[in-house]
């Protein structure tokens, strides 16, 4: 654990804008260094306010500290950004159960299972919630330590005997960042048929929320949420530039970078598409590819009533 913290601290020192802050905060939390974990998480989120996994870690830290209201708010934020975030759904279930709302806890666990039917921990927790005759749980003798354990386990809620039975597996935190395959599975397959349809094409709304497609880093991490958050800023800047300079409504932004070309374009009102193509594809061809993907996205959005 100490090695992990050292490694992540080093990574963050080399690149303060890195998403490694979330892993570092989680590692510190697991070591019961809650204040330090909180500081790292808040600092990271100030740079990446739309990073769902960062808010998830923050929620766990607050839960460890016994601050369930803040934990619930942080998990709610995760679900605003990534409505199908399994860790956050289970976190909400944990808070609801602790606050005496078994129905809401069960609903959150059902949603977690709808997202990932193979989540055995969520299934056991749900069974337990349904079986448990409701009584407000007594405050644990050592809230922080016990919550730490319970939140670290996906089938949280182990501060009652019944939940402890449900939460038998060893703690396994949700993936940070989310595994691409998992993220892609819960997004609508709008671009199926396109090359790298869930790795290089992203549809998002103007607030920076992912709608469909996906974006995967060269290391295999899902960077869709981060990209979407950043792109909302790009769109706003482009609109401002068009207005100030009398250019009118912007149609495309093309960025040629060292290892890839990016094409960004509005899709109707309120949505954007990002297409990433390898540098080996000429810019003109990347633009045509993006235009085709934009047409597909536009048709899909129209079908959604958007």
């Amino acid at each position: 654990m100490a090695d992990t913290i050292r490694r992540l601290t080093g990574a963050l020192a080399r690149d303060p804008a890195s998403l490694a802050y979330a892993d570092l905060a989680e590692a510190l939390r697991r070591k019961n260094q809650r204040e330090e974990a909180l500081r790292v998480a808040l600092q990271g989120l100030s740079r990446h306010p739309m990073h769902a996994d960062g808010h998830d870690v923050l929620a766990r830290i607050y839960a460890d500290m016994g601050d369930l209201d803040r934990a619930r708010l942080a998990w709610s934020k995760v679900l605003e950004i990534a409505p199908d975030h399994g860790g956050a759904l289970k976190g909400v279930a944990f808070v609801r159960f602790r606050q005496g709302d078994a129905d809401a806890a069960a609903a959150a666990l059902e949603q977690a299972l709808a997202v990932d039917p193979s989540d055995e921990a969520a299934r056991r927790a749900l069974d337990t919630v349904r079986r448990t005759p409701w009584a407000p749980p007594a405050p644990p003798a050592e809230p922080a330590a016990r919550v730490t354990e319970s939140v670290a386990a996906p089938a949280a809620l182990r501060d009652t005997a019944s939940f402890a039975a449900a939460a038998a597996p060893a703690p396994t935190p949700p993936p940070l960042p989310a595994a691409p395959a998992e993220a892609a599975r819960v997004r609508p397959p709008v671009f199926s048929g396109f090359d790298r349809s869930t790795a290089d094409i992203l549809l998002l709304d103007e607030r920076g929320l992912v709608l469909a497609g996906g974006l995967v880093s060269s290391a295999g991490a899902d960077v869709a949420e981060v990209a979407a958050a950043g792109l909302a800023g790009v769109s706003g800047e482009a609109t401002r530039t068009g207005e100030y300079l009398g250019l009118g409504v912007w149609r495309t932004i093309v960025a040629e970078a060292e290892s890839a070309n990016l094409v960004v374009a509005p899709v109707g009102e309120g949505a954007l598409i990002l297409v990433r193509r390898d540098r080996s594809m000429p810019v003109g061809l990347a633009l045509r590819f993006a235009e085709r993907a934009r047409g597909t996205a536009s048709t899909w959005l129209a079908g959604q009533g958007a």
Binding site: S217, G230, E237
Partner: protein, 117 residues
């Protein structure tokens, strides 16, 4: 305006449809040298171009595309083009919709590379 920077702007401005070109400080978005047609708001172009490039670069970094070299924003009434000339300069051009983007890009990248040497 130094001769070298001025000559580069002159070459860029000869591209059909070009309304102006300028060297801009990447960090603060202030013009360093410019060659603009009447009515083009140089300071606004510089500031907005630098800001747009910062945002685009942030996103490119986040998605693993690496360092951005060239940005073009096409709009209904024209095009904004930016070539990055590391470490601290941008070549910015504002053009109408008739512009030959390929040619403009070529001249701008040439200027950016020369400035970086």
């Amino acid at each position: 305006m130094s001769d070298e920077l001025g000559r580069a702007l002159d070459r860029i401005s000869r591209v059909r449809g070009m309304r102006g070109s300028m060297w801009v400080s990447a960090e603060d978005g202030l013009p360093v040298a410019q060659l603009l047609m009447e009515g083009v708001p140089g300071k606004a172009v510089a500031a907005l171009a630098a800001s747009l490039v910062r945002k685009v670069s942030g996103t490119a970094g986040a998605v693993g595309a690496g360092r951005v070299r060239f940005v073009q924003m096409e709009a209904a009434g024209g095009t904004l083009l930016v070539a990055l000339a590391p470490p601290d300069l941008l070549v910015v051009a504002l053009a109408d919709s008739r512009v030959n983007i390929g040619l403009a890009r070529l001249e701008m990248m040439r200027a950016a590379q020369a400035a970086g040497r």
